[in-house]
């Protein structure tokens, strides 16, 4: 934040700078769709956080006989599934699964991918070759296919179970994205004179990399994280649609689409509700990512 050094006579010592934060907000909220995306995400986070309070029914409660496959309306706002569970409640609990998979995967892969990218970019040479070629190799596979393979292997050997299989599989699958972006920005940041100045002051390589290069690499990484959250939620839905992922009776949007898929015509709410939820959230993440990208774009700095 900018501090203003204003004395009594109203003479300011430092030129009044336009706050970065104000400029950021201005560009970010300029587009209505970005604002809309942010609202959707905030609502989703609230839903996930307060799921037990918001959900009208227990998402695992099978309900009484005759309550299965109810149409929307009445007591169950979005109807019930084959086992008589309330769709709306499961939808709200599904937000938890989606966000958990998204955020934890992003965190794990960032934790591995970002240092790899910085190290490769900073040292160059053989280290760069080894790390980046490994990332390229990982990148050859489509993300979903790789995650599927990893999930299958992890399951087979019983290393971990349930939702963690999905989280770990997706984390590994998106590491190359982080490594590449970080590698790219590191290459350009390390040419700056302040990096040379830091080395001339006796900073170690570790200090230069993680105290001086990393914070400068944040803007593109923030954008990447936001964009990838959308992709991850979509991938998680894909995996649970294919039957890999959360163990029943846990609620996941992808699995709900799969369940509803058998009642395509006679009970559309079953697959439409989670389907729309997935589409909306992915769209929202992409919009927010777009907005962040524009707002953090250094070329737009100084524009009011």
């Amino acid at each position: 934040m900018v501090k203003k050094h204003t004395s009594d006579i109203g003479f300011s010592e430092a030129p009044v700078c336009v706050s970065e934060w104000r400029r950021f907000r201005r560009v970010f909220f300029e587009r209505k769709l970005v604002t809309f995306g942010l609202v959707v995400l905030v609502l989703m986070v609230i839903a996930a956080a307060f799921a037990p309070l918001l959900a009208p029914y227990d998402p695992y409660d099978l309900g009484d006989a005759g309550e299965s496959l109810l149409q929307p309306g009445g007591e169950h706002l979005l109807g019930t599934d084959l086992l008589g569970r309330d769709t709306l409640s499961r939808l709200i609990y599904g937000a938890r699964t989606a966000l958990m998979v998204g955020f934890i995967s992003v965190f794990i892969s960032g934790f591995i991918g970002v240092p790899l990218g910085i190290i490769a970019g900073y040292f160059g040479g053989v280290i760069n070759m080894v790390i980046m070629r490994a990332m390229d190799a990982l990148m050859c596979f489509p993300m979903l296919l790789l995650a599927l393979l990893l999930a299958a292997v992890l399951r087979e050997y019983d290393v971990i179970s349930g939702i963690w299989v999905v989280i770990i599989a997706l984390s590994i699958a998106i590491i190359p994205g982080y490594a590449r972006v970080t590698h790219g920005v590191t290459l350009s940041i390390k040419e700056n004179e302040y990096i040379m100045a830091q080395r001339a002051m006796g900073s170690s390589n570790m200090r230069v990399m993680f105290r001086h290069i990393l914070p400068n690499a944040f803007p593109p990484l923030i954008v990447l994280v936001t964009m990838q959250l959308g992709a991850l939620i979509l991938a998680e839905a894909g995996l649970s649609f294919l039957g890999i992922g959360i163990d029943p009776p846990g609620a996941a949007w992808g699995a709900m689409v799969w369940d509803g898929y058998r009642y395509l015509a006679n009970n559309p709410a079953l697959w439409l509700a989670p389907g729309i939820a997935i589409a909306l959230v992915v769209f929202a993440f992409n919009m927010v990512g777009d907005g962040l990208r524009d707002a953090l774009d250094p070329r737009l700095r100084g524009l009011l």
Partner: protein, 346 residues
């Protein structure tokens, strides 16, 4: 609390011990490029005495910056230091590992460097406080609080008004001249023995240049440090340096006291440099004479004197013999030239 150099009253004693502090012997740095080997620094030797200000002058690409980066072991691939010695406090710095702890404890703490571009020499995402205290914590092991106090004091010393308010500002809130002041404060924060200023004023306007040079001179006197001013501008060093080294194509072609260099220049290149800058103490109407031609390509240099194609004093011997070695003229005045330029000018 340990006594902090620079805090005590300004010492006015002008007597300088002429003890040799730092010596570079036959330093060679090469860049391995696709076009061939670039001999950026081709065997230079110089020394710095305690509390002395020296100037290293030469045009762009003559290897003056590279020589200074080599001394600090900050040359990265494709560059390589291929030979020479850098003797400081009885140790050869080139024997230290580039990233090793010994070399790191020299950089910043014993030998500090200021760079050309103040606009980009500070990390834009960290506050001045974070960047200044980092050095103090790293090299002097100060606590955060003590380091902050010291940082404020340093900022005050380099002439930043209301330093206690400005210390938490970011670099973009400072002007170029102010940022260079911060850089000076940062470079001197661990009271180094030598301050290397690599074209410290090139990117600044003329009025700020004068202020900063004056400040740098005051500060090194206060901290009892030596100063190396690297520049392409003879005018900058004229006033401050005690001795001047003139570099051309990776070698030192003339060295001497400032008086010698300006009063009795002997190398054709030095003469050329002086002819192309205006002076206040000369008759009106003298035409400024540029040096003909371009600096040589440092790849595949001929064995003869590199200045030969541009030289107006050349004699037959010049095109036959290899690059002339530095020969002593008198006291501290050395020149690397076969021709007797003094006689020709008469």
């Amino acid at each position: 609390m340990p006594s902090i150099p620079g805090s005590e009253a300004y010492s006015s004693d002008k007597e300088k011990s002429m003890a040799e502090l730092f010596k570079v012997e036959n330093l060679k740095t090469q860049f391995h490029t696709e076009g061939g080997v670039v001999k950026a620094v081709d065997g230079i030797s110089y020394h710095i005495d305690e509390r002395e200000i020296i100037g290293l002058v030469g045009e762009s690409g003559c290897g003056k910056s590279v020589s200074q980066l080599s001394v600090m072991q900050l040359i990265s691939t494709p560059g390589e230091i291929v030979g020479g010695e850098v003797i400081f406090e009885g140790q050869d710095l080139l024997k230290y590992k580039t990233h090793g702890p010994e070399m790191r404890s020299v950089r910043g703490a014993k030998i500090a460097m200021i760079f050309q571009e103040p606009m980009t020499s500070l990390n834009p995402v960290l506050t001045i406080n974070q960047q200044l205290t980092e050095m103090l914590e790293l090299h002097l092991g100060m606590s955060k609080k003590v380091a902050r106090e010291r940082a404020i004091e340093l900022l005050g010393m380099v002439g930043i008004p209301s330093a206690h308010n400005r210390i938490d500002d970011y670099p973009h809130q400072f002007s170029g001249g102010m940022r260079q002041r911060v850089m000076i404060a940062m470079a001197l924060s661990c009271s180094p023995k030598i301050l290397i200023a690599d074209e410290p004023t090139t990117a600044l306007d003329v009025t700020t240049q004068a202020q900063l040079l004056e400040l740098m001179k005051d500060m090194v006197e206060r901290f009892k440090a030596s100063l190396v001013i690297v520049t392409h501008n003879l005018g900058v060093v004229a006033r401050y340096a005690q001795r001047i080294y003139i570099m051309y194509a990776g070698r030192i072609v003339e060295e001497g006291t400032t008086k010698d260099i300006f009063g009795k220049p002997r190398h054709p290149y030095t003469i050329g440099l002086l002819k192309c800058i205006p002076r206040l103490d000369e008759e009106e109407g003298r035409k400024l004479v540029p040096i003909k031609g371009l600096p040589p390509n440092l790849i595949n240099m001929p064995p003869t004197c590199a200045f030969l194609p541009r030289c107006s004093y050349k004699i037959k011997k010049c095109s036959r013999e290899p690059w002339p070695p530095l020969k002593n003229l008198h006291d501290q005045h050395y020149v690397s030239c076969y021709a007797n330029t003094q006689e020709r000018d008469k």
